[in-house]
Amino acid sequence: MTLTRRQVVAAIPAAALTAGLARSAHAEDARKVVTFWFAQANSDGQAALRNDLVEAFNASQDKYLLQLEVKGAAVNNLLKVALVAGNGPDIVQTAGPAYLTAIANAGQVLPLDDLAETYKWKQRFLPALLNTSVYGGKLYALPRDYESMHLFYNKELFKQHGWKPPTNRAEIEAIADDALAKGIIPFGAGNADWKGVNEWLMTVFFNNVAGPDNVRKALSGELPWTAPPFVEAVELSKAWFNKGYFGKNYFSLTIEQSFLQVVNGKAAMALSGTWSFGTKSYGMSKPDTVMDVMAVPTLGSAFTGSLVHLACGATLSIAKTSENADGAAAVFEFMLTRKFYEAMNRDWPGKWALPVKDLPPEMLSGIGYPLFEKTIAELHDAFSKGRYGFTTWTFWPGATDSYLIEGIEQVWLNKITPDAYLARMQTLFAQEAKDGKVPPLPPRAA
């Protein structure tokens, strides 16, 4: 059959009406859509998100339909624009409290206190993490995970060279010097694909040299960043960099390449975060892995023993303009189920370690990843008892954190002095503290 142009034009209104009717009929039956923008996820992560979150949630009830989009690294910028325009997703995920601060201060996300009361969230989350999202006495987000910097090391290489897991700075430097003498890189490290690696290292130096109490004082405005403990921390980072502890190719290697140096025995150790458990190429989930992990030992005299560092890698909120806050809350509730926790941490370890208060050992042992299970159990214990340092990406405000990352390269490459670096950091921090941009500090004891 051949249609003339006139017949086609005449048919358009009828077709539109039919489509409209069909759509409205469908809409009545349809479940309420809950939208969720996710940042970056590798192929394993995307599969885990699809299977363990989206499909599992949609199959678990018939009221809401979760629609998740992986937006990539630019999601933080997209979110701000979308929220201002009133077109953001229902579930607002940020890259942590430092990002949430501006969004919460602008009132673009809903206070969750009523929902928290209904679902008992305040009783179910670790206060150390939950309190990082409290502004003006109101709760604006739930923490999606906890992270910390750790010392990963090649236990076979350690055994081969007679090195023992270090417990202080002298021991760690003795291992590093011996490694250098033997042509082994002390720490596999590289920031070619992510400059944030600089702040991973500086989190360790600030906390493990200056001590978490001094860091807390500085974040509270009671101690300037130019104080001697922080000068010592920056000077130590510079000394290690210049001695070649991080190898000759720090600015050329990617995170994965540098970590694989440790796995392959070319480097002895790596200062990296718990997210490293999620990269399958490292082989850390295998029973015969050469890798082991421990909390980073003290690097100064401020404390003895080792330290984990409190980080919230992502927060989950509900957009102010969301028409389906209950649906978003239902998704949060689903994330708190044991089934989801086990499945997500099995399929994408380290990315979704919900900081719940009640974490029975059998819940972790079901994951089948001994190194990860051990680390999460230790983190949970330390965070529950208030023994932790503070990560720069969670507690430093934006401009100060950006300078911390960029400026430290100038120190390491002898362009500026540690004093000049810290003076600039103090100036930026003081201004941001005055502007109310410093994320809230959790209580010391949980």
């Binding site: 050329s252 950006s402 490459l413």
Partner: protein
């Protein structure tokens, strides 16, 4: 006449003029990109000028401009003149030298970063493993800007050569033959016939090079992100960092205004040259 230009003017007003005016206005407020903007007067410019990184970024823009006004222009002019003399090689060579231009910037950047400069997976790494001692220039704050410029030149000069060749082909063949009969060699022909013959095109490309050099962003952001130690930071990467990493849209807009200032100067120079050319022609 105006009616004829109206669609283009409307599009330009919507997608260029309005955002440009908003950016200009944003330079005078304190704004984190999501809250309520607050009037800041000239504070953003004062803070910008007090920041030593701004001045190093600005000088990097000047260095970049100087490089791109010379190196790719010279290579492209010589290649275009050579191709004019060798008509049989023209199609094949043009296709080859134009190829980098059609490869996505992100791909080119990653190829140079990972397959050429990288000491782990690149040619530099291979050379180091075979007895040479070469460092990754991207890892050196004093060389990183030049290394990224080399990548961009590779991507850019072929396009310029094709543009110059097209312009040279507009020159009367009688003029070229006459010069040859008078005994002009390659360089004399180049200097006294080809260069004057493509002067309007050359001027346009030089002016555009100045404008684009102050807007340069992609290659630097992809390959070094302005580092290490701000070694390859330019105004555009500085503005991006202020806006999206520091949440300081006002400061970013101030940096963007400085960028635009140089673009405006270049545009004014071009318009002035055009007007003078018009007068001379009349």
């Amino acid at each position: 006449m105006w009616l004829f230009a109206l669609p283009a003017l409307l599009i330009n007003a919507c997608i260029i003029l309005v955002p440009a005016l908003l950016t200009f206005a944003a330079a005078f407020v304190l704004w984190d990109g999501i809250g309520t903007p607050a009037w800041a007067g000239l504070a953003n410019f004062r803070n910008l000028f007090d920041d030593p990184v701004f001045w190093s970024a600005l000088s990097n823009n000047f260095i970049w401009t100087a490089i791109f006004l010379t190196v790719p222009i010279i290579i492209a002019l010589v290649m275009a003149a050579a191709l004019l003399m060798l008509p049989n090689a023209r199609i094949v060579v043009q296709s080859i030298i134009f190829l980098p231009r059609i490869i996505a910037v992100a791909v080119t950047g990653r190829v140079f970063q990972g397959m050429i400069f990288s000491p782990a997976t690149g040619i530099i790494g291979w050379l180091n493993a075979h007895g040479f001692s070469l460092a990754d220039p991207l890892a050196d704050p004093d060389r990183s800007l030049y290394a990224v410029a080399a990548v961009d030149i590779w991507h850019w000069w072929g396009f310029l050569a094709v543009v110059f060749l097209s312009a040279m082909r507009q020159i009367s063949i009688d003029q070229i033959d006459a010069a040859r009969l008078d005994g002009a060699g390659f360089f004399a022909l180049f200097r006294y016939v080809l260069l004057p013959g493509i002067r309007p095109t050359l001027t346009l490309m030089l002016i555009l090079t100045v404008i684009w050099s102050f807007q340069v962003f992609e290659f630097i952001f992809i390959v070094t992100r302005g580092g290490p130690a701000y070694g390859s930071e330019v105004l555009a990467t500085l503005a991006y960092r202020h806006a999206f990493f520091e949440g300081d849209v006002g400061q970013a807009a101030a940096a963007a205004c400085v960028m635009s200032l140089f673009g405006l100067c270049a545009t004014a120079a071009y318009l002035w040259l055009q007007r003078n050319d018009g007068r001379e022609a009349a």
